[in-house]
Symmetry: C2
């Protein structure tokens, strides 16, 4: 008898997380003997805790296909960290209660480091509680900081967006620099890992072009060195374009732009590195500046998604289902690079115990000795990830994104209070 | 005997200003009997004042064609306002000196309100000094605030970018809102006129979708009404996306971005309407927020240019040359809309004396009664302007933009000091 599957999106969404959803759902529909329905959690794992399930079988094949070109999280995501199994584990017990009520035998969790950990715990508790379930993590994070996998689905598209934006804005600044803006600062995401900042560097095809300076979270911010570098570039090229990580901090670990807010995971909410750097440039160098904060624009920019990233996002969703029907539990599909030039990749597999809560930062040799740019080795790594275009369909001048019906599954358990 | 032409870019550049340059140069090349070479000013009008001319005849047809898909100002632009003719007019005399030295009989100035005024004055002084020159203004401004013309080349592409970005980021926020970000604020350009802010509103296909609130420079900012509106939307839809003009100001005309607010740490908020609004939302409503400042990204985003805008940008460059060879002096090609549905437009002509220094703001009936959104009438106006895609070629995952040789013309006059 086929058992049902549960799929949920977790944490910050991406331009292509829905492509992974499409990979899961379309593939599950092919394994009719093993998998019944795919239920999605409305607002991620909360949908399971609250028994607020979405019946994806009500969606047409065309609607599911349209997920491959629709950004954001089509079922709603959540920043919600389950309490540890050791701390009572009531939440995990509730999950099993809901899964049991709906005969869910497959758990697909689409997220980053935190959710890999959740996924691992689900597989652990199911054993303890005697409820068989196969838990597979579907990797996703614009931060590109998951271990083992060569890259993280979602990253390539942000990378393509920030590099394109920097190349374009760079041409703008260059043409204005003689009489106006001389320094341009673009702030990008990546709290602890500088992968997105590094990708900004791809905009530079030749020395002298934007960006001239990159500020990585891996390199402690040195105000004096930064200002000297900006001045040097303005002198040499007439202008200076800077790509800066939101997670930039000084040698004592103090974030440049801490807003004082924390998210559900206790992470500080950041915002505003660019205006702080701009103020420095104005105050100390007296140069006219402009600054941009791409924020959600960067991770939602499906219109300029990387085709490679899109294909990989779909592939990990598909592979997750294929692993699950083979009974492979507590694993995550990975991207394995077999060659950079020409770029060749295939799907591999990682144990969740090796993935959960491990963060992959930029290797030091991906950053130039002075700490302000990327090396050729880094370019070789990044370039294939932004290759190829995959424009969405347009209607009335704008991308035509799908909205699903998201029909609710009838509840079978009582109300739950945490 | 054919006389030479001078072309210069002025003020803030756009994603498609180079398409106007291509229109001028390609068309001029067809009128060999009337027009000799097209010299471009390096860094706009400064190129003429300093006799720093670029010989565009050294560029291949392919390079000129590539201008149609390259953002920024290919010859360099300038923010430089010539002193009035009445104040001595030395600068204008210098221009005529340089034009005389290079037998320049045509003056094409590609810019907004200020440059229309400059162009007008050139035609006036040439009469006074007995040096015949035909001066034609080529309209360009992302602000869309030139009078007479139905729209301004450059605007449609920014409009398409901001509407696309808001639609994408809106889907992102919507999927995060249950447990995380509830308010998203995107700041866009338009210091005095709210056209770009209005275009952001096109992202909303149905009530409840982003953006929920627009803040126009034409409507005095009312903190209480704004916060009430945000709260109302969060209650109703779970989240609220805001499009805000950089030129937002209160009823006393005080710009929000210069209001001297401080953040939680006592740091002065540094430029940026979006962070100020975000701070208000956090302080008064205690809602989690994210904010983006698109800045140069919006006006340089050639990768998502409007095909309509691109065609019109080229057309005004072409028309300017056609006007000039007919001897039409002191004029500007305009876009004339003959129908909205289906959209039909043609090139018209305006006298520079009717254009110079006049600013076209949003009509009140383009803004809803409550001041927070656009009306159907506004949509009917805007929609055709963002229609059609015109993606640039890509190479290694990034748009492939041209860099011209920009070969200098040999100087014939002595050095000039202002």
């Amino acid at each position: 008898m086929p058992r049902n599957a549960f799929y949920a999106q977790s944490g910050g969404v991406t331009a292509v997380i829905n492509a992974s959803a499409a990979g899961v759902i379309e593939t599950a529909r092919k394994y009719k003997e093993q998998i019944g329905k795919v239920y999605a959690g409305r607002n991620g794992i909360l949908g399971a805790l609250n028994e607020d399930l979405i019946d994806t079988s009500k969606e047409s094949p065309a609607a599911i296909r349209a997920l491959t070109w629709t950004p954001g999280g089509a079922f709603g995501s959540a920043r919600y960290k389950l309490k540890g199994v050791e701390k009572g584990g009531h939440e995990y017990e509730r999950l099993i209660e809901v899964f049991r009520a709906h005969d869910i035998g497959y758990f697909f969790y689409n997220g980053g480091n935190d959710s890999a950990d959740t996924c691992l715990k689900i597989s652990q508790i199911s054993g303890k509680l005697g409820y068989p379930i196969v838990a597979v993590h579907v990797p996703k994070t614009v931060d590109n900081d998951l271990p083992i996998t060569d890259t993280c689905p979602g990253f390539g598209s942000v990378a393509k967006y920030v590099a394109t934006s920097m190349r374009e804005a760079g041409l703008d600044v260059e043409s204005m620099a003689k009489t106006s803006t001389k320094v341009f600062i673009m702030e990008v995401m990546g709290r602890h890992a500088g992968w997105i900042t590094a990708a900004t560097g791809l905009a530079q095809a030749q020395a002298g072009q934007a960006p001239h300076v990159l500020l990585f979270p891996e390199i402690a911010f040195d105000e004096e060195a930064f200002l000297a570098k900006v001045e040097e570039n303005v002198k040499k090229y007439g202008y200076c374009a800077v790509g800066a990580s939101e997670g930039l901090h000084d040698k004592d670990g103090r974030f440049l732009a801490e807003s004082g807010l924390k998210d559900a995971f206790g992470h500080a909410q950041l915002g505003g590195v660019a205006p702080r750097l701009a103020e420095l440039v104005r105050g100390k160098l007296n140069l006219k500046h402009h600054w941009a904060v791409a924020d959600y624009l960067q991770r939602a920019a499906r219109h300029i998604a990387s085709k490679t990233d899109l294909e990989q996002s779909y592939a990990v969703g598909k592979a997750a289902v294929e692993f699950a029907v083979k009974g492979m539990n507590s694993v995550m599909p990975t991207i394995v690079r077999s060659s950079s030039k020409p770029y060749r990749w295939k799907i591999g597999v990682a144990k969740l115990s090796d993935v959960a809560n491990v963060e992959k930062k930029m290797p030091r040799d991906y950053i130039t000795a002075d700490g302000f740019h990327i090396t050729q080795k880094c370019r070789n790594y990044l370039e294939p990830l932004i290759a190829g275009e995959a424009f969405p369909p347009f209607e009335k001048g704008l991308p035509k994104y799908v909205r699903l019906k998201n029909a609710a599954v009838r509840k079978k358990t009582g109300a739950w209070t945490p």
